[in-house]
């Protein structure tokens, strides 16, 4: 997030919230509640979502676009803003670059054309554009509804174009605010759990940076960017990757196209030339992924260890041990393993690890466990007297002037056809989390949402002879599962929805692993599907 969560408490009747592709009340309930409270105080709420989410129900304007058409929708809004001269000319002149290219592209998307692509009425697109542009401050929030597409990067660029066009960057109650789906995605990125960067986004290809880390860690380091998750799975399949350490993840349920993931990871060798793959899993439970591992290490839960998480607004906060670990805290396991592999790794505890990290990560340099006793601190925090940075890009964008990146609409990788006539989109529900390994084992949460079903529109259901609660078979080119029909107008005609929390009905057996060429994020949000009544 460029801005802070608590800002939502300060939104007034003159401000606007634009929630696109984010089911915040289910997935980020705290932020969802703050949005609804702001709306109750008179803040304008614009929601773009194919599904009738809680936010959509409350919205002043709800744009029900077809899954995968975000670029066309946003270009259509920007067309209205340009042709009605609602843009922020001063901001564009002083703080941006490449405006002419944007104008040229966007002018090809009059609301009528955007409407033909998105199925949102043209006057609604225009009304949303006006509401957004006329607000004193307008903040955009998005999640996986924007990123989990083959055009995920294009979608993010379009969101950012809209913010730049209206001068909604680098000030309070504005900005481009991706909401992070998991508690510490932000932190895992910050810590360099990425194939191309060391902690704090320092490129592995930069010789000076690498020298710094070589000196600190006392070993020569590779300057060759590593493999992303899809690349690793591909490498396992083709034999270039021989060993995989999986720390607290369940790719056999969370990754797209599970049948393919399984094929890549299973220790079955059909070719006599290939040796068996070696897989290590560290997790709380014997997950579907741990079951196929060669070594399983019992991990510790958040309540059994000390450390820090960094939330979606970049705020670093303490995690504190409340109960004794069932096994060992994970930081200890990792240091013991490093020693078993012949390296010196003597840390007195998580604080010592944090202190080493902050000498190498400039944006964390000023944060210490002692300071965190007073409450969380948002990075960048370059030194110990720095208060932290709740709003990014104040005065100028971090990369200098804000760059407009004109993008054209491209359709999703897989579209409905005769054999697979409906769209399937995926997501989460409030009571559960990710692959359900934790929440499915909490009786209060499992009771609140004990089983999966497929949301399908009454018109589609009637055509297929399916009644509410009927057993149904759901099939894509990659897999099939049986579940129950949830006949509801929450989804539009032609679109169905399933979550990925349930092992019995793993939604990701269906999803498409086609991914954005740059971010490598797979297209969980759109694939083509066939639904039939299952014989009982």
């Amino acid at each position: 997030m460029t801005n802070a969560i608590l800002e939502l408490k300060e939104f007034t009747v003159r401000d606007a919230i634009f929630a696109i592709g984010t089911n915040a009340t289910d997935c980020h309930p705290l932020i969802g509640v703050y949005m609804l409270e702001a709306h109750a105080r008179g803040t304008k709420l614009i929601v773009a979502d194919p599904r009738r989410t809680e936010l959509a129900k409350h919205a002043d304007i709800w744009l029900r676009h077809r899954p995968g058409t975000d670029v066309a929708l946003l270009n259509g809004m920007m067309h209205v803003i340009l042709t009605e001269s609602l843009m922020d000319r001063d901001f564009i002149a002083a703080r941006t670059e490449n405006f002419d290219a944007l104008r040229e592209t966007v002018l090809a998307y009059p609301p009528e054309r955007a409407s033909a692509i998105t199925h949102v009425p043209a006057d609604k697109i225009a009304a949303a554009a006006r509401m957004f542009a006329r607000a004193e401050n307008a903040a955009t929030y998005y999640t996986m509804g924007i990123t989990q597409h083959v055009t995920g990067v294009d979608n993010v660029l379009s969101v950012s174009n809209l913010a730049l066009l209206t001068g909604n960057l680098g000030k309070p109650k504005a900005g481009v605010n991706p909401l992070r789906g998991q508690n510490n995605v932000q932190g895992a990125c910050d810590m360099g759990a990425l194939p191309n960067v060391f902690p704090a986004y320092q490129p592995v290809t930069d010789d000076k940076i690498r020298e710094k880390f070589e000196k600190a860690w006392g070993v020569p380091l590779s300057g060759k960017p590593g493999l992303t998750i899809p690349d690793v799975l591909h490498g396992l399949e083709h034999g270039s990757v021989k060993a995989l350490f999986i720390f607290g993840e369940n790719p056999m349920r969370s990754d797209p196209d599970i049948n393919h993931v399984k094929h890549c990871m299973e220790n079955v060798d059909f070719s006599p030339l290939k040796e068996a793959r070696f897989i290590v899993v560290q997790d709380l439970f014997l997950t579907e992924t741990a079951e196929i591992a060669d070594v399983v290490l019992p991990g510790a839960s958040f309540a059994e260890k000390d450390g820090t998480f960094s939330n979606t607004e970049r705020r670093v906060q303490r995690v504190r041990q409340a109960v004794a670990p069932v096994g060992k805290p994970d930081w200890l396991i990792l240091t013991e393993l490093m020693r078993a592999m012949g390296t010196k790794a003597d840390y007195a505890g998580p604080e010592a690890v944090f202190d080493e990290m902050r000498t190498l990560a400039p944006s964390y340099a000023g944060i210490s466990y002692a300071r965190l006793e007073q409450g969380g601190i948002p990075w960048p925090c370059p030194n110990e007297s720095h208060p932290g940075t709740p709003i990014l890009h104040v005065g100028k964008c971090n990369r200098g002037p804000g760059l407009f990146c004109a993008v054209d609409f491209k359709p999703p990788a897989e579209n409905p056809d005769e054999s697979y006539p409906l769209i399937l989109t995926t997501g989460r529900v409030a009571a559960h989390y990710h692959t359900g390994t934790m929440t499915r084992r909490c009786w209060g949460l499992d009771a609140a949402h004990p089983e999966e079903s497929l949301e399908i529109h009454p018109e589609d259901a009637a055509r297929l002879g399916i009644a509410h609660d009927d057993p149904i078979r759901v099939t894509t080119r990659r897999g099939t599962l049986t579940t129950k029909a949830n006949v509801t107008t929450r989804v539009p005609v032609g679109t169905t929805f399933i979550s990925f929390h349930f092992s019995e009905t793993p939604g990701n057996i269906l999803t498409n692993s086609a991914a954005d060429p740059i971010s490598k994020t797979p297209e969980y949000k759109v694939c083509a599907v066939r639904v039939e009544r299952a014989r009982a």
Binding site: F247, D294, V316, G327
Partner: protein, 133 residues
């Protein structure tokens, strides 16, 4: 009863709450009021999402696959198998034949250690996590 202030393990909002502990078990979670995130609020996951910590299915000892089945092993045995196989693969195929998926659910410290293990000990940048997923 002991009380410990900590941070929610579920979504990226980062609500903080007090875990109340009795006889070594968590009995309740109560939202923090005096912070700058959740101001006394928690959603159902934060409030009721801690049973899994004491669930009977929790893994307690390392497991190592022997003759096709996962069997209980000591920590040292498990570390030994990993160190040996990693060293072997590294020798035969180079460090880039080894990869790790880190965790968006684990702490900063643990993520830092795993990327250091891969980069400084194994010698590869093959480390990623599910930010994309």
């Amino acid at each position: 009863m002991e009380s410990v202030v900590t941070t929610c393990p579920y979504c990226g909002c980062g609500c903080s709450f007090t875990l109340n502990v009795e006889g070594g078990e968590i009995v309740s979670a109560v939202p923090q009021v005096d912070n700058v995130v959740n101001l006394g609020r928690l959603c159902l996951k934060g409030r009721f999402g801690f049973d899994f910590v004491h669930h009977k299915d929790r893994l307690r000892t390392p497991l190592v696959r022997r003759n096709g089945t996962l069997e209980e092993a000591t920590w040292d045995e498990a570390y030994g198998v990993i160190a040996e196989r990693f060293a072997d693969i590294r020798k035969k195929h180079g460090p880039d034949a080894i990869a790790a998926f880190s965790s968006a659910r684990c702490t900063n410290e643990e993520n830092y250690l795993l990327q250091k293990l891969m980069r400084a000990v194994v010698g590869t940048n093959n480390i990623d996590h599910c930010a994309r997923l």
